[in-house]
């Protein structure tokens, strides 16, 4: 049952964004996040909004999936906004009792909120349109130059993809072990922190042993199928740039240029006398 959980919340759809090389998406996400922090002006944020909205549109992933990731930071967001609004000194906008909201406060709160929200949504775009294995392939290819300085890039990528493959299996095993120990009267719920930690032993020990056993079996199976490290391996699904990948890179450059220009413009700010 637990095997139905797909990790990384990949949402399958037939869009250009889905088809893009994972390296493009990785680069794009980084560019977007950096741009949010490097370029500050209302115009810049408008450009960023436009960019994000179009990407979401093209990806064909429903908006509600995109904003799901925000649920986890709702608290952080609220605290950031409130603290910034009320605690930054400057020209007072509104005042009641001992609380005062300043112009600078509003501006800072808005900027931080936007950055945080867009950061989350921007990363979601990537995880929603790229399978975990695609991502590890992308990372492996992107980091491969590091092999020259003896960084075990292939091994790291292999570790990551095997881990991804076994997470649902180990989750299911955890469930089984919990049930078996509960049938022996184990109690994972009650008691204080220390009690709860102790009660994890009958769960963790068998789980670890099982994980090691699987690793052993898998290593033997890999060797039996001729695995001898990254050298001399060919790839079934090699990452090769297509024309739309190259266009995407160009668009990213264009986006950066526009953002830079927009950050230099402060028309709107002036109009609002901020």
């Amino acid at each position: 049952m637990l095997r139905d959980i797909t990790l990384g919340q990949y949402y399958p759809a037939n869009s250009v964004i889905h088809k893009l090389d994972p390296r493009v998406k990785l680069a794009g996400t980084m560019v977007f996040i950096v741009s949010l922090f490097a370029f500050r002006s209302i115009e810049a944020y408008l450009v960023a909004t436009l960019f994000l909205a179009s990407v979401i549109r093209i990806s064909k992933v429903p908006l509600k999936f995109m904003v799901k990731g925000l649920k986890s930071v709702v608290m952080l967001l609220a605290i950031t906004v409130v603290f910034n609004m009320f605690l930054i000194p400057g020209t007072v906008l509104v005042r009641f009792w001992i609380f005062k909201i300043t112009v600078e406060g509003v501006r800072t709160a808005a900027a931080m909120a936007i950055r945080l929200i867009y950061l989350i949504i921007g990363s979601s775009v990537m995880t929603l349109t790229t399978t975990p294995n695609n991502l590890t392939d992308g990372l492996e290819k992107a980091l491969s130059p590091l092999r020259k300085i003896k960084v075990p890039v292939h091994e790291i990528a292999m570790i990551m993809s095997i881990a991804l493959r076994f997470i649902p299996i180990l989750l299911e095993e955890t469930d089984k072990i919990m049930k078996a120990q509960t049938a022996r009267g184990a109690d994972f719920e009650s008691g204080g922190l220390i009690q709860k930690a102790k009660s994890m032993v009958p769960l963790l020990v068998p789980l670890f042993i099982s994980a090691f056993r699987r690793a052993n079996d898998l290593a033997m199976a890999m060797e039996a199928r001729g695995y001898h490290g990254g050298d001399g391996r060919t790839k079934m699904k090699p990452l090769v740039y297509k024309s739309y990948d190259k266009k995407a890179y160009l668009l990213l450059l264009a986006y950066l240029a526009v953002m830079f220009a927009a950050s230099r413009v402060t028309v709107i700010e002036g109009l609002l006398h901020l």
Binding site: M1, D4, G185, M236, P238
Partner: protein
């Protein structure tokens, strides 16, 4: 042409202590000579620990010989430069389906081998397609392996090996973790590969039915080859095989029993069809009643008004050849009374008492309200009476495992109630912990729950959780270990030093130490060799007889179920299909087949004979019954 040649092969497992000195040596393979011709289908049989897996791992050079030599297609396995060639020539499929699949998508996993070999990308895809088609899994090429059944996963693993274009495939107990359907799938696939693609196959197993069609059978015991020959030759030696902790197909056993009774049957009968044929010849020659009387003596029909039953199950020790079969209870003799409705017949054993456990209109839905919603139990009504020995059978996914998890409140029903001793366990404030000590549930592969520093402490875990005083806890642990036959010398050992069968017994002791009134066992024989299976089930039967525990056994083996239980509940797609004594349930063997089950092999034999006009009851469900029936009909 020899594709595998081993001479005086020996292998020792060495255990080193902390200083690197050799602490112990274990000679797992000793003085083995092996000769496999290209295109052969060779089976290696042996009990767990006989050395067969160790031998197998030499064939693709995972292990190299301590003594002697092994040549694979002319290459010496000790030659490190030939290592990858050897592994490409001899591929290997392992026992655990999950632990040999590396890719997250089927086609990626099948391509893993060719990728390692440096095969060019285009060719990899060709090979992937060919291999998947040859095992019948091409439609699943874009699926995640996690969603496949055990049999399907093993077929993908086989495809992964086939994609490397080996000359020989070694399969190390590939079906041990599968259900009967999965086993059939895999063996059929392997046989086709052998016949059509002429791939040499070396199958390591302890399921006798799988090797009937092999070219050669090799039996191993304690690291040595003790028997070699065609299946017919090897299976003729029933007693010898039993001494090696192995088993033979039921037809062979029946023939053996009949031979012992003096009936002239040839050796090495392997299948029902052969037996029927040979019996036909005997009937033509045989003098009626010559040997029959001997077997029929003492078999007084005690069944009350049941049609066609000629032997009584209540006769204890009727045939000296009952290998460990426990005495039948009264209810067995009453078996065959008219069924009432929908296959649910009346039980009489212990039913004067009120039911110990009652399942009332139980419904259970997985992931209710989501896209993954699935009905696991529908309208289940079952009454379980004290002292019964019940078997639960059903296809994979029929709801058996979900059902038993309701018995001790591990899972709460979506609707309906569970009554233990008259009280609804879903009532507010009901003590589920105590319930779990009364209804002991042993999961599949229970040895996976062991975690303590030594055996004794692990068995104490259960009673300790019940809050019992230390002396009581220790007394119970001692008693429980005695009940499963674990000697005192193992008490201080780490559970992880034990063999699989021993670990399992310790795990069962862990539940017995809670002194349950009801013992539920989910496939307790999974992964064990034939003697191991018999041992565990005999132990359970003994517990049932001595301690009067109610036992509920979930199993895929119709033969095991038929031998031990007095009542069978058949689950089919979340509903109870039949709830009746074995004899009755197996009468519906056609319907059972339609829902992915079967009847014991002997039942088919009896039906065939009855169909040919033999005066035998087609209801025999065990070897002993069948032998008696046939003998008395001659």
């Amino acid at each position: 042409m020899n594709i595998i040649k081993a001479s005086k092969l020996a292998f020792e497992y060495l255990k080193f202590d902390e200083e690197g000195k050799i602490e112990s040596r274990q000679r797992a393979v000793d003085d083995v000579d092996l000769d496999v011709q290209a295109g052969d289908f060779v089976a290696i049989l042996g009990h767990n620990g006989s050395g067969k897996s160790t031998l197998a791992k030499h064939i693709n050079a995972i292990l190299t010989p301590t003594e002697g030599t092994l040549y694979v297609d002319g290459k010496d396995t000790r030659d490190e430069s030939k290592l990858w060639e050897i592994r490409q020539t001899a591929g290997m499929v392992f026992q655990n389906p999950d632990n040999q699949i590396i890719g997250t998508i089927v086609d990626e996993d099948v391509g893993f081998g060719p990728e390692n070999m440096g095969v060019p990308q285009e060719e990899i895809w060709q090979r992937v397609e060919q291999s998947l088609k040859s095992v019948g899994m091409w439609e699943y090429r874009s699926h995640s392996p996690n969603k496949l059944s055990g049999g399907q996963k093993q077929r993908v693993a086989i495809a992964g090996v086939v994609a490397m274009r080996p000359k020989c495939i070694v399969l190390d107990e590939p079906t041990a973790m599968l259900d009967p359907n999965g086993r059939k799938e895999v063996i059929r696939t392997v046989q086709e590969l052998n016949r059509k693609e002429h791939v040499t196959v070396i199958l390591i197993t302890h399921y006798m039915e799988e090797v009937i069609d092999a070219d050669k059978v090799i039996v191993m015991d304690q690291g040595r080859v003790v028997m070699q020959g065609t299946p017919r030759e090897v299976f003729s030696h029933v007693e010898e095989l039993k001494s090696y902790r192995l088993d033979v197909p039921q037809a062979t056993l029946v023939a053996h029993e009949l031979q012992k009774k003096g009936i002239g049957l040839p050796d090495g009968i392997l299948s029902n069809e052969e037996l029927v044929r040979e019996l036909g010849k005997v009937r033509g020659i045989g003098v009626p009643g010559r040997t029959a009387t001997g077997a029929v003596a003492g078999a007084t029909p005690a069944d009350m008004g049941a049609p066609e039953c000629t032997e009584s199950e209540a006769v204890a020790g009727a045939t000296p050849t009952d290998v460990g079969a426990p005495e039948r209870t009264v209810s067995e003799a009453v078996a065959g009374t008219m069924s009432t409705d929908a296959g649910v017949s009346e039980h009489t054993a212990g039913e004067s008492a009120p039911p110990l456990l009652r399942l009332d209109h139980l419904n259970y839905i997985y992931s209710a309200g989501t896209a993954f919603e699935r009905q696991a139990l529908t309208g289940v009504n079952i009454d379980i009476y004290p002292g019964q020995f019940i078997g639960i059978i059903g296809h994979t996914g029929s709801g058996k495992s979900t059902l038993i998890q309701h018995l001790n409140g591990l899972v709460q029903a979506t609707s309906g109630a569970v009554y233990y001793n008259g009280r609804n366990i879903y009532d507010e404030g009901y003590d589920l912990k105590t319930l779990r000590s009364k209804v002991g549930l042993v999961f599949q592969y229970p040895e996976h729950q062991l975690f303590e520093v030594d055996v004794f402490t692990d068995v104490c875990f259960g009673p300790k959780n019940l809050g019992l005083p230390p002396e009581e806890v220790e007394a119970r642990a001692r008693e429980a270990l005695r009940l499963v036959g674990m000697k005192e010398k193992y008490f201080k050992k780490s559970p992880f030093e034990l063999s699989g069968g021993q670990k399992r017994r310790v795990a069962i002791a862990g539940i017995l130490a809670m002194k349950p009134d009801v013992l539920v066992l989910d496939e307790p024989t999974a992964g064990l060799d034939p003697k191991g299976r018999d041992d565990i089930l005999d132990q359970v039967a003994k517990l049932h007889a001595e301690q009067k525990i109610t036992v509920i056994l979930v199993s895929h083996s119709m033969e095991d179920i038929a031998r031990y239980v007095e009542r069978i509940i058949v689950m089919n797609h979340s509903k109870v299909l039949y709830d009746a004594p074995p004899r009755e349930v197996f009468r519906h063997y056609r319907k059972l087949e339609a829902v992915g089950l079967a009847a014991p092999q002997v039942t088919y034999l009896m039906h065939e004979l009855a169909g040919k006009g033999w005066k035998v009851s087609p209801d025999a469900t065990t070897v002993e019954e069948a032998a008696r029936e046939i003998a008395s009909a001659l």
